[in-house]
């Protein structure tokens, strides 16, 4: 019997365009690109030059502050371009894929016989360690941290998010190997949803399993940590995306860096939403080709509509991308007298609209409009009603806006990540960019504490 943790607060959004279980395989794209921005908090330092030949698993760049943390190329081929943005910031490193893929052989290893140090070394060597994230700050971690625990959330419950059980099919062995590898470095907590049935999850070994019963954002690892093992100042908890656990497992099982993953494509602007077999770094243009309903006034999101980044067809599958969603942009919509008209197709948690009449089964097709002007915080309790954490969200946000670091620490900023505030940002009647506020607050705090 696993420990069941029941959460009451939150909100399940029922959006149109959920991915069906169908899986579509794609060919290896002609060009892939690794995007350093997908590794939050990493300042990239290039270790390859344009024209250089790389193998799958060769480092493309390293973390400038921790050069031992390398980031592996997903494919073998020739580095064709290094795209830079403002102040020469590296935006992406493009690699033209070889027709015959070559992998660096890191050697098969039996993880159960390895020490934590050896596992860490192997991950660093293979350029995968950067896939481990940490709280506080919600960034890619570094090898000098001593984790109090390692958390893996095996379910995603954001709207239109990929279902991890579907991703897991066929990767069960790699997933278990990955968990065992992690368990050598710290105690691993695996969080599952009460609705999940996969035996690879429910019978996972070398981990403590906790089941969560509650609406979104119960799948957020930050929320889970807050209920199982809250973080105090000075402590570090590693958080690992379940898809990354599979990458780790493959490394030890095959000795190769294999960054193939199954991602969901969904949203109301996608024809036939489904799962796609692809690889980290694959261009969106090849994945979404022929799958979009419209070519204009749409928003392509790298991730789900609540936490994903605004993106375009020129973007690439990021290290932690589990789904690509497309919704209407809404910049050509003019709704008249919105403050009083019934607006039956709009969703609201407030009963001043009528979405409560249609029940939970109605699927909504929401666009990217903010639907109101930004105001000061007016209504109270909105954030707390969708944040199942022992944190006073409004007060934390205010302390971040005010730049009061002592107060942020007192109110628990080390326990939160921007994604925890995604639903609060959705329901906020004052339309404040909460995720941005939290991210900037965390970045400032990290600099101050460095």
């Amino acid at each position: 019997m696993v420990n069941v943790i029941k959460l009451r607060k939150g909100l399940n959004l029922n959006l149109k365009g959920k991915a069906t279980k169908e899986k579509i395989s794609t060919e290896l794209p002609a060009e892939v690109a690794l995007v350093p921005a997908a590794f939050e908090g990493v300042v990239p330092k290039l270790v390859v030059k344009e024209g250089e030949q790389v193998q799958a698993g060769s480092a493309l760049f390293v973390n400038k502050n921790f050069p031992e943390v390398k980031f592996a190329s997903p494919v073998s081929g020739k580095v064709t371009a290094i795209i830079r943005g403002d102040r020469r910031k590296v935006l992406c490193i493009k690699v033209q894929t070889d027709s015959e893929q070559g992998y660096i052989d890191f050697g098969k290893k039996d993880v159960s016989s390895l020490s934590g140090e050896k596992v860490k070394e192997a991950l660093l060597e293979a350029g995968l360690f950067g896939y481990v994230n940490q709280l506080p700050y919600a960034i890619s971690t570094n090898p000098t941290t001593e984790p109090k625990a390692i958390f893996v959330s095996a379910f995603r419950d954001m709207p239109l998010a990929a279902d991890f059980e579907t991703e897991l099919e066929g990767n069960e062995e790699a997933f278990q190997t990955g968990l065992t590898a992690l368990s050598t470095m710290g105690k691993v907590y695996l969080s599952v949803s009460v609705e999940q049935k996969s035996t690879a999850l429910l019978n996972a070994k070398d981990v403590e399993i906790n089941a969560f019963d509650g609406p979104c954002p119960a799948g957020n690892v930050g929320v889970q940590i807050n209920h199982i093992l809250p973080i105090n100042k000075g402590e570090v908890v590693w958080t690992v995306d379940p898809a990354s656990v599979i990458f780790f497992g493959r490394l030890f099982l095959t000795g190769k860096v294999d960054l193939q993953k199954r991602i969901a494509i969904g949203g109301s602007e996608v024809i036939h939403p489904c799962y796609v077999e692809t690889i980290v770094g694959a261009p969106f243009s090849t994945i979404l080709q022929g799958r979009l309903l419209h070519s204009e006034h749409i928003r392509i999101i790298n991730g789900n509509p609540l936490t994903g980044n605004v993106s375009s067809l020129e973007d690439y599958v990021g290290a932690h991308t589990s789904e690509i969603t497309c919704i209407p942009e809404g910049d050509n919509v003019n709704e008249i007298l919105g403050w009083i008209s019934p607006r039956l197709n709009n969703f609201s948690v407030s009963r001043s609209y009528f979405s409560w009449l249609f029940g939970k089964n109605k699927e909504y097709d929401l666009d990217a409009r903010v639907k109101g002007g930004k105001r000061h915080m007016i209504m109270s309790g909105e954030y707390d009603s969708v944040l199942p954490m022992d944190v006073y969200a409004e007060y934390l946000i205010k302390s971040i806006i005010a730049g009061n670091i002592d107060r942020q620490e007192q109110l628990g900023i080390y326990e939160v990540s921007p994604e925890d505030f995604a639903l609060a940002e959705f329901v906020d009647s004052s339309k404040m960019p909460l995720q941005k506020i939290v991210r900037e607050g965390l970045n400032t705090l990290r600099k101050e504490n460095a």
Partner: protein
């Protein structure tokens, strides 16, 4: 969509560099009033709830309408009753008289208050905030019908500037704007706010209503109680609201309709509202048991501004306590304080306004201690 095209056509005039740039906030206010802004999110969440502060404020105004319309009727009713011609007047005559008496107050309140809001928004290059839509209708409803318009204008200006804008606008203010206006009038022109001369409209308007004799007096039930007399109104009049008093505060039924709208839409907190009543009932029972008040607990709730304050003013989310636990304490404090002022202070027959003012003042302190418990709990984890 020709209106949309027209707006798009004239929009550049109001943007930076345009010749009407000084009216940018006004144009923006009008545009967002007509159309839901179609700006899309650039960062963070790509989707948003349809609720915004325009919708919220509109709902509160809708919730206030029953009290406003009943208030108009009651203004006429009191005038005709005082003149003794009630029996011969039709419902329409009575209502229209009240309508004519109240409408200028609402107009003055909105013109003065919104005028300052618009000017301020333009000065600060901000969007116009909707908060005054609610304050602007509450203020005329919580004053006696005989209040001169210039006083009302002064009070609105004072309240908007010194209770709201200097703090940074809606969402940053400490004191409820309507309470601020009422306090200003009460302490500046107390003879026009209290006493027995102010509660009934005295003059006929456009041939409607009656001119009452100079020096006509009519006490509110609460002031009669304050003077140790028995109130001249029965329970049914108190509940329906056919008693002298401030324009919108007399009818328990009309206010209850508003309360239902606010609670159902979730805009007002049932915790705050409920605990104001709980606090009032508790103290009224205590005073009754001690023999210090002659009326029962429900009469205390039905009379004066208790219901109106509890439903529409104590629940203002900005100036009330913001933590869920804090709301219980805050509400109870207001309810209790209102009855304490009524019963124990011989100078003030009504205490709701002062109680809400004190509640506003203590709300940050209440929240401070509620949040502090969370901070302490977090700090204790390390030990």
């Amino acid at each position: 969509m020709s209106l949309r095209k027209y707006l798009d056509k004239i929009k550049p005039n109001f943007q930076k560099g345009g010749k009407l740039h000084v009216f940018e906030s006004v144009f923006d206010g009008l545009e967002t009033f007509l159309y839901v802004p179609n700006t899309t999110s650039k960062s963070g969440s790509s989707i948003h709830d349809a609720i915004d502060s325009k919708r919220i404020m509109s709902m509160v105004v809708i919730a206030l309408l029953p009290a406003m319309f009943f208030g108009m009727y009651n203004v006429g009713y009191q005038n005709y009753l005082a003149a003794g011609t009630l029996a011969s007047a039709s419902f329409l005559e009575v209502f229209c008289y009240g309508f004519l008496a109240v409408l200028p107050k609402i107009l003055v309140s909105y013109i003065v208050g919104l005028g300052i809001e618009f000017a301020w928004a333009q000065w600060k290059h901000e969007e116009i905030q909707e908060g005054y839509l609610v304050s602007g209708i509450i203020i005329p409803l919580i004053i006696p019908v005989t209040t001169p318009l210039w006083m009302l204008a002064l009070a609105c200006a004072f309240a908007v500037i010194f209770c709201k804008e200097i703090f940074g606008g809606t969402g940053m203010n400490i004191f409820n704007v309507a309470v601020g206006a009422r306090m200003f009038l009460f302490f500046s022109y107390s003879s026009k706010m209290t006493g027995d001369m102010v509660w009934v409209a005295q003059n006929s308007l456009l041939g409607l209503g009656n001119n009452l004799a100079d020096g006509f007096t009519m006490a509110t039930p609460l002031s009669q109680i304050g003077q140790g007399l028995a109130p001249n109104a029965g329970i049914s009049d108190m509940v329906i609201g056919l008693i002298p008093g401030s324009i919108g505060e007399t009818s328990v039924i009309a206010i209850a309709i508003g309360a239902i709208i606010l609670l159902w839409t979730g805009i007002a907190s049932w915790k705050t509202m409920g605990s104001v009543f709980a606090g009032g009932i508790a103290l009224a029972l205590v005073f009754k048991a001690m023999g210090m008040t002659s009326i029962s607990w429900y009469e205390h709730l039905f009379l004066g501004g208790f219901c109106f304050g509890a439903v529409f003013m104590a629940t203002d989310p900005v100036t009330s306590a913001r933590t869920e636990t804090g709301k219980y304490i805050y509400g109870f404090l207001i309810g209790a304080m209102a009855i304490i002022v009524r019963v124990m202070n011989p100078g003030y027959p009504e205490g709701m306004m002062l109680a809400i003012f004190f509640g506003n003042m203590f709300a940050p302190l209440i929240d401070y201690y509620v949040v502090d418990r969370n901070i302490t709990r977090r700090a204790n984890r390390i030990k």
